[in-house]
């Protein structure tokens, strides 16, 4: 099982690095949006709350443009049937989940310096800021993976993914925006409650996704 999962992750990264579709589209989106906001703001300083909102809106739509690709690609190329026949659903889902978590981590590592540079952001508690960003990233990518599998089976995928993802992701965005805002301002880290919430949310969603994936994946 572990070998199959590793083989799937390797295959997905190899395909991604061959055409760099998800990374280039998602990063281009994040880069363009950051530049547009910075240009429009014209050097006007934003409050930590506004920065947190803008940063997470960019992160959310970056996830929207990149994370569904992992399943949509399999359906578009007709390789999903091969996967269904040759690999257990558990291995496929684990590989896709890990791939999405890693891909979103890479995207966040590219977006953050761009945002910090162009928005001239001064982070008061860098450690907590990174903690919120990466925990939020894990919570988002873990909840969006099963939704990506659902969307890949439907028509009008591009429009549908944000529609079905936003309500499910809102609890994460809600908590992570407040946490990021505190870490950017002088309040710093006040309570572990929101970090525990993000971990609990990711854990619960991943467990339920494992239970449901077989119903979504097989015909």
């Amino acid at each position: 099982m572990v070998k199959t999962i590793i083989a799937h992750i390797k295959k997905d990264f190899r395909i991604e690095f061959r055409n760099r579709y998800a990374v280039s589209v998602s990063f281009s989106f994040a880069f363009t949006t950051t530049l547009a906001i910075s240009l429009a703001a014209g050097g006007i300083p934003f409050s930590p709350q506004t920065h947190a909102v803008i940063l997470w809106v960019i992160m959310f739509f970056t996830a929207m443009s990149g994370l569904a690709h992992i399943f949509v690609r399999e359906e578009d190329r007709g390789t999903s049937l091969f996967l269904r026949l040759n690999s257990p659903a558990l291995a496929v889902f684990t590989a896709k989940l890990l791939y999405n978590v890693l891909l979103f981590f890479v995207l966040q590592c590219m977006i953050l310096p761009v945002y910090l540079f162009f928005m001239q952001l001064d982070v008061q508690s860098p450690l907590f800021f990174l903690g919120y960003v990466f925990l939020g990233g894990i919570a988002l990518s873990s909840s969006l993976t099963i939704l990506a599998a659902i969307v890949a089976r439907a028509g009008a995928r591009g429009a549908l993914f944000p529609v079905i993802s936003l309500p499910v992701s809102l609890p994460v965005l809600w908590v992570v925006i407040q946490g990021t805002s505190r870490s950017l301002g002088r309040a710093g880290f006040s309570s572990p409650g929101d970090m525990v919430f993000l971990l609990a949310f990711s854990g619960t969603i991943t467990a339920v996704s494992y239970l449901l994936f077989e119903f979504v994946w097989h015909d």
Partner: protein
């Protein structure tokens, strides 16, 4: 429940026919004809106005039951989806129809709860909308329902539609407690204490408490009544489709 003629396993085991249980439920739901007028009369005539809020506090007897039924309808559609996915090898299609009907009724009640809540918000806080954690929770619940219907439309041609939409309903049901029960407790809220709170007590005087409980019972019966009707319509439509085939 859904108008099917086959006798289910639990009915065979208990020796009762599905017709009997359906009839019993039908009569229970018909109690709404008595309980709903009683709840309305109690809300306007029996319950005293709340201190500080005055007559506008009577909105409580409609807003709270509407919000309760929204969450109940959503939970029932999730539970029915779990039953469809994990029992009967996906053959019990009436469960999918019942889950769909429950979600549709839930959406209606969510819209009404949002509307009544915003009126109350205007009367109490001076603004129809201010993104209070509880207001946000109800609007997210509405978005979940809207997303479900969008997904169902997008999957219309897909033979696995019933399994996929059921999986989405289960997935959405799991996220609901996070923003209905957890998030409003993490962030400060202007909203009055929820009826089911940390003390596990209803903070109301007895006449108001009785009126509220009657209203909740009336709206729950109304939900059951509409769901029963909708399920019967779905069963007739299914039968018609079968006859055409």
């Amino acid at each position: 429940m859904c108008g099917t003629t086959e006798i289910s396993a639990p009915d065979r085991a208990s020796g009762s026919s599905p017709g009997t249980s359906r009839t019993v439920m039908k009569y229970i739901y018909r109690l709404v004809y008595i309980v709903m007028p009683a709840a309305i009369a109690m809300a306007f005539l029996y319950a005293p106005p709340a201190e500080g809020l005055g007559e506008s506090s009577r909105l409580l007897y409609f807003h709270v039951p509407l919000a309760w039924v929204s969450v109940l309808a959503f939970s029932i559609s999730g539970v029915l989806s779990v039953l469809f996915l994990f029992t009967g090898n996906g053959e019990r299609r009436e469960l999918v129809h019942a889950a769909h009907n429950s979600a549709a009724i839930g959406l209606l009640f969510t819209v009404l709860a949002t509307f009544s809540g915003s009126v109350w918000s205007k009367l109490s806080w001076g603004a129809y909308w201010n993104w209070d954690p509880r207001q946000t929770s109800i609007i997210v619940l509405m978005l979940v329902y809207i997303a479900y219907f969008s997904l169902e439309s997008a999957l219309r041609e897909n033979p696995s539609r019933q399994r996929i939409v059921s999986a989405y309903l289960v997935f959405a049901m799991v996220t609901v407690p996070f923003f209905v029960f957890v998030v409003p407790r993490i962030f400060p809220s202007l909203h009055p204490d929820p009826v089911i709170n940390a003390d596990r007590q209803v903070h109301l005087e007895s006449a108001m408490k009785i009126s509220l409980m009657t209203a909740i019972a009336a709206f729950t019966l109304l939900y059951g009544y509409i769901l029963n009707l909708a399920n019967r319509v779905s069963a007739i439509n299914e039968q018609k489709k079968g006859d055409l085939r």
